[in-house]
């Protein structure tokens, strides 16, 4: 296996365990529920085949669902961001051609681009998950607050992850 494949599988597993064994057990408030695991989909290399994108999202969502006792919830939201990922990348390319094999991280593409990309993906994922979880429109205000606060929390965690792993030299 090429080092890139190994690296992605390791990241996938690390994020999954971080989510279900650590993050899910830290109960900050009902408004703040970070989902760091979606970084595994966000950071897949640009040349990942599209079917593989969907398939990894399906498996990742399923595994997270098993551990949170929520059938299909994380699965559906993660599939959604895997589906929109190519379109989001197109939208914010600004004419830039993503080089092959290059993964979308801060080191390769700069802080501005990375912030834009990650925020869009996080907000789409969190909107899907919280609306599906509530499954009614009567608690609209609370749900919006929940999306905003949780997105911010996830965003902070994503940046911590970047500083810990992706920005290291070597």
């Amino acid at each position: 296996m090429s080092p890139i494949v190994t690296k992605n599988i390791l990241r996938f597993a690390a994020l999954l365990f971080l989510q279900v064994l650590v993050i899910d057990h830290i109960q900050i408030s009902s408004m703040v529920t970070p989902f760091i695991y979606i970084l595994a989909i966000i950071m897949l290399p640009f040349n990942t085949p599209r079917w593989l994108l969907l398939f990894s999202a399906f498996v990742l969502g399923f595994l997270v669902d098993i551990f949170s006792g929520t059938m299909g919830l994380n699965m559906s939201a993660t599939l959604t961001i895997a589906f929109v990922r190519p379109y989001v990348l197109n939208l914010i390319s600004f004419g830039r051609d993503y080089e092959d094999e290059e993964a979308p991280n801060m080191k390769n593409l700069g802080v501005d681009w990375f912030v834009a990309y990650v925020s869009i993906m996080i907000v789409i994922h969190h909107s899907a998950i919280f609306f599906l979880e509530v499954f009614r429109l009567s608690e609209l205000g609370t749900t919006f607050l929940r999306i905003i606060y949780s997105s911010l929390a996830t965003f902070v965690l994503v940046f911590l992850w970047q500083f810990l792993f992706a920005l290291r030299k070597g």
Binding site: H25, S68, F83, V134
Partner: protein, 277 residues
């Protein structure tokens, strides 16, 4: 035929997405129907084993607090045992065993997974059908009501917490005779539940105690739920909405008891007569 392949090749991304998303949504929508099925039993057993391992490690950090809580409960129970009561002359006070019949049994369990920050919160405990836990049983803690057992596997069970949108606990207010309310959770704050539609003639004050009513088949009467922390009165018809500060601290919960109602079968049979055909 070649057109079909070309079509599939061209639209494989969106078709695959719709297919997988369909599976996810079917699972999501039918979640309640799967809960007692074979699939859920497997699902409980797998995640239960992982969380059990995690809990056996994390437990050490809570030992001090758990000890204090259990010691407090021991002290309370000790004050209720026979030796603690003054004994009067036996010829006057005959202990008549036919007056009391054991109706509730308690199964001790430990929580291995607990969420409080979702809209629909679940807990998982390390006792299952092998230890006598069944679907629908009530779960209480040393400090109050916790929830109701929703799914059971051999050695683990998942419990619908009070902090769940489907959770309704039949309750009454200790200080007055109002006894037909139900406690539910609006999803805002993890320690505060609500009691809705209290009629205007009922007098409620902040600080009143809310306990289980005993009208449900799973909870014994008089288990503490919480205390009234805010009373809001609707201007149009004077109905009250109560905020209830739950006595159970869901953030630090560790030891719980599953309540087995020994009269459950009898009550179920009786109730069948009232069900419509």
């Amino acid at each position: 035929m070649s057109n079909l392949f070309r079509f599939l090749k061209r639209f494989h991304f969106i078709l695959l997405f719709l297919f997988l998303q369909g599976i996810a949504l079917i699972l999501l929508v039918n979640y309640n129907r799967y809960q007692s099925g074979q699939f859920m039993r497997f699902y409980n057993e797998v995640s239960g084993a992982v969380f059990n391992a995690r809990h056996s490690l994390a437990q050490y950090f809570n030992l001090r607090r758990s000890n204090v809580e259990l010691a407090a409960e021991n002290a309370r129970l000790r004050s209720q045992i026979e030796q603690s009561y003054q004994r009067f002359d036996r010829s006057v006070f005959v202990v008549n065993d036919t007056v009391f019949r054991l109706q509730y049994e308690y199964i001790q369990a430990q929580i291995i997974k607990n969420t409080t920050s979702r809209r629909n919160n679940y807990l998982m405990i390390n006792k299952g059908s092998n230890q006598g836990v069944r679907e629908g049983m009530a779960v209480i803690s040393p400090t109050g009501v916790v929830g109701i057992v929703r799914a059971v596997s051999n050695n683990f069970s998942s419990i619908m917490s009070l902090l769940h949108s489907d959770s309704r606990i039949s309750a009454r207010i200790k200080e007055n005779n109002f006894s037909t309310g139900s406690v539910s959770w609006n999803g805002r704050l993890a320690g505060i539940s609500q009691m809705l539609e209290i009629p205007p003639h009922i007098e409620v004050h902040v600080g009143d105690t809310v306990i289980t009513s005993g009208f449900s088949l799973n909870f014994p009467e008089g288990i503490l739920i919480g205390t009234v922390s805010r009373v809001q009165t609707r201007p149009t018809d004077n109905f009250h909405t109560l905020d209830i500060k739950l006595s159970t601290d869901f953030h630090t919960l560790d030891h719980v008891y599953v309540v087995r109602n020994l009269a459950r079968n009898e009550l179920d049979q009786l109730l069948q007569y009232h069900l419509p055909e």
